[in-house]
């Protein structure tokens, strides 16, 4: 999907903070110089076109008192799809990737407490036949920034 500069400006705004107001698209439009209809239609087109995955709250495991961890598993490459299926069936697993390393299956686990994490990791070990799962909980967070600010091209036309 081709994004125009005005779309990029809208994305820069709504990634950082979607207005929590009665008429959010009016507010977005005011910031980029278009009316409510155009702001809404552009956001809807980017959602329908797949550029926007979702608009909502990015809830924080720690803010809610939950725990999250990054895990890795060594799996023979011809068994990785089966192992990935075992891992992905948990709602607690939000990200699950194959990566180019001896530890080749990487996934996150979010749970109310570490006992629940341990229980899930033991089950994955048992049901996949691989492991034990390498558990790498957070020690310190330096940065988390999930919005990507777009640079606008120099306006060719005014």
């Amino acid at each position: 999907m081709n994004l125009e500069d005005i779309d990029k400006r809208i994305l820069n705004i709504i990634q950082t903070g979607f207005p929590i107001t009665h008429a959010p698209y009016t507010e977005i439009g005011e910031k980029v110089g278009v009316d409510e209809d155009e702001a809404f239609n552009r956001v809807k087109a980017m959602f329908d076109g797949g550029v926007i995955r979702r608009i909502g709250g990015s809830f924080d495991s720690r803010g809610l008192g939950w725990t999250s961890t990054l895990c890795a598993l060594k799996v023979p490459s011809d068994k990785i799809e089966e192992a990935a299926k075992v891992v992905s069936r948990y709602a607690n697993v939000t990200h699950n990737y194959e990566r180019n390393h001896e530890y080749n299956l990487w996934f996150t686990v979010i749970a109310p407490d570490t006992d629940e994490v341990d229980r899930i990791l033991k089950e994955i070990h048992r049901d996949s036949g691989f492991g034990p799962v390498r558990n790498m909980p957070l020690i310190k967070k330096f940065k988390i920034k999930v919005d990507f600010q777009f640079k606008e091209k120099k306006e060719a036309t005014a």
């Binding site: 909502g56 709250g57 939950w66 299926k85 990200h95 194959e98 109310p112």
Partner: protein, 168 residues
């Protein structure tokens, strides 16, 4: 410990953890669905942000479709414990780095710092990592690329949130 949250708040957050209704007045649509006032949805939504229940309220993009096509997990070995915090800060200064964390190391895993690095291609990500290595002096590092995505979703905390006994 998991926070005690009232059933009425769980009901609202259940609507906020996914995608807002794609209409001009999304909070009014949620209010109608839940049978409460729009102002209550708006005020509560702001309150959850103040309480840090969510980090951010806004759009999440599909990076591939938005033109950010490559990302790599940079892993960095910093054996001296006292150097990890300053190195972590230094690595996270880069605008191309979205996440930077310290995690435990193991005998077969000598890495302590993790950074997600984004670029337009894998070559660019590797070049950024090389620059980060030169800037920090960390020579033992690697960049892991995802070769397959099996799952990518947002955690749905509120689908099965246990309520206090008197509210069930």
């Amino acid at each position: 410990m998991k926070k005690e949250i009232k059933a009425s708040d769980v009901a609202i957050m259940k609507e906020l953890q996914g995608h807002l209704p794609m209409v001009k007045n999304p909070f009014a649509a949620i209010a109608e669905k839940l049978g409460i006032a729009e102002d209550e949805v708006i005020n509560k939504t702001r309150e959850y942000g103040e309480k840090k229940y969510y980090r951010r309220f806004g759009a999440t993009l599909r990076h591939h479709k938005a033109g950010f096509t490559a990302n790599g997990m940079g892993i960095w070995s910093v054996p001296k414990e006292e150097e990890r915090a300053p190195m972590g800060e230094l690595l996270s200064n880069r605008p191309e780095v979205s996440h930077a964390y310290e995690r435990p190391s193991f005998p077969d895993w000598p890495y302590h710092l993790f950074t997600m690095i984004h670029g337009e291609s894998e070559e660019e990500v590797l070049k950024i990592a090389k620059g980060m290595s030169e800037e920090t002096g960390i020579t033992e590092y690697d960049v892991l690329f995802s070769t397959r995505e099996f799952k990518k979703s947002s955690m749905r905390y509120f689908d099965a949130w246990p309520l206090p006994d008197n509210e069930q």
